[in-house]
Symmetry: C2
Amino acid sequence: MMIGFDAPDARLPAYARLRDTFTARIATGEWTPDHPIPSESRLAQEFDVSVGTVRKAVDGLVEEGLLERRQGSGTRVRAPSFSASLFRFFPIRETDGSPVSIPSSQIILRSVTQAPAPAASVLDTEDVIKIVRLRSLSDQPVLFEEIYIPTERFAGFDKLPESSLGPLLYPLYFEHFGVMVKRASDEVSFGKASERVAQRLRIRAGDPLAVIERTAFDIENRPIEWRVASGSATNFRYRSEIN
Amino acid sequence: MMIGFDAPDARLPAYARLRDTFTARIATGEWTPDHPIPSESRLAQEFDVSVGTVRKAVDGLVEEGLLERRQGSGTRVRAPSFSASLFRFFPIRETDGSPVSIPSSQIILRSVTQAPAPAASVLDTEDVIKIVRLRSLSDQPVLFEEIYIPTERFAGFDKLPESSLGPLLYPLYFEHFGVMVKRASDEVSFGKASERVAQRLRIRAGDPLAVIERTAFDIENRPIEWRVASGSATNFRYRSEIN
């Protein structure tokens, strides 16, 4: 496993350490909602513990809502696939339906700053790190993002080496700060591009803009990130499953 | 219970009949995701069957994904609360956050017709019933909807008496046609109002328009409805939970 998160505390009982290990596998995307996790007997073998211990660890994660048991199709990750949600914003499939490349991600700014009013209100603090990011598809900018995370939970994020910043932030939050994003709430609206945003997106000021405001929550349901993502409204598509 | 759906088939085993009865409670909204369903022992008492029979019926619905067991907080409906999704489209809370009235619903047209291409493609048939509906808040039209359902599954929908049409379609689908909407898929995009839509929404042709295309699926994952809902983009808000 390539995670920098602390190894489970050896003083914890075996099932609790196993639970932390499993949580890490979910957070880092090693286990996904797409495939059942290994059977309890295989996990018992892998970690050299009893099946009862594995079951207790899995039970805990089912109770927390991170895993779910489905008769006939095994136990699966129930956590949302946030990487999939990347693909909901713009037509990033070819018109023939074939998948295209993952949007590239360029971090323009990271700075410790004072939160603007909506971020401060959601995060309940003015001490934040601001991240400005541009996402592009085949060199065409499609999404301009301003992201705010509380300094208290993410101290040092602004100093992480560039090389450690992949295209996805949520795995990073977990690996470096032990913060796992459990759910998020999006609000889509339409507006007009400001001069500044228009320049980044290579559209004209006043052009119709699609805006997604997202609040992300950790496992304890605390808001840990607020972001505003903007893109040209012209080709905008936002997909949402209700189930 | 005020449902017109057929009573469970008496030739079925007790647990299967119970399962149908429970499904009806979910479909009609008697059981909601907001509260745990009664305990298995209370249900056994209510239906005069053994706890084992209740458990078997509940197990079946858990497996189908209609119910979910949560340790410590009982068994709950897992089906989406579609009525709540009504409230995601427009600012139908007062600015102070207090809830306002449910949007009123006016059915303008019901007719057996030939499906337009996107509806035919999703529903896999050209034989549809078209429903045109206008939703208003305090007499202001906010959402213009064109809804297509396959005639094969909904024969006679166009002839249902006006008085039986409440503000929500999904409970109606179940009560009269035994079709339960299990999940839906929304796609939000942005466009310009046509003359016809503008007139209904009391905006001007060419004004910015928010468009939601929705496909709804039944319990067997068959598409059973396709709709396009349009509203002025100006005050549009679409909320979505990712979890």
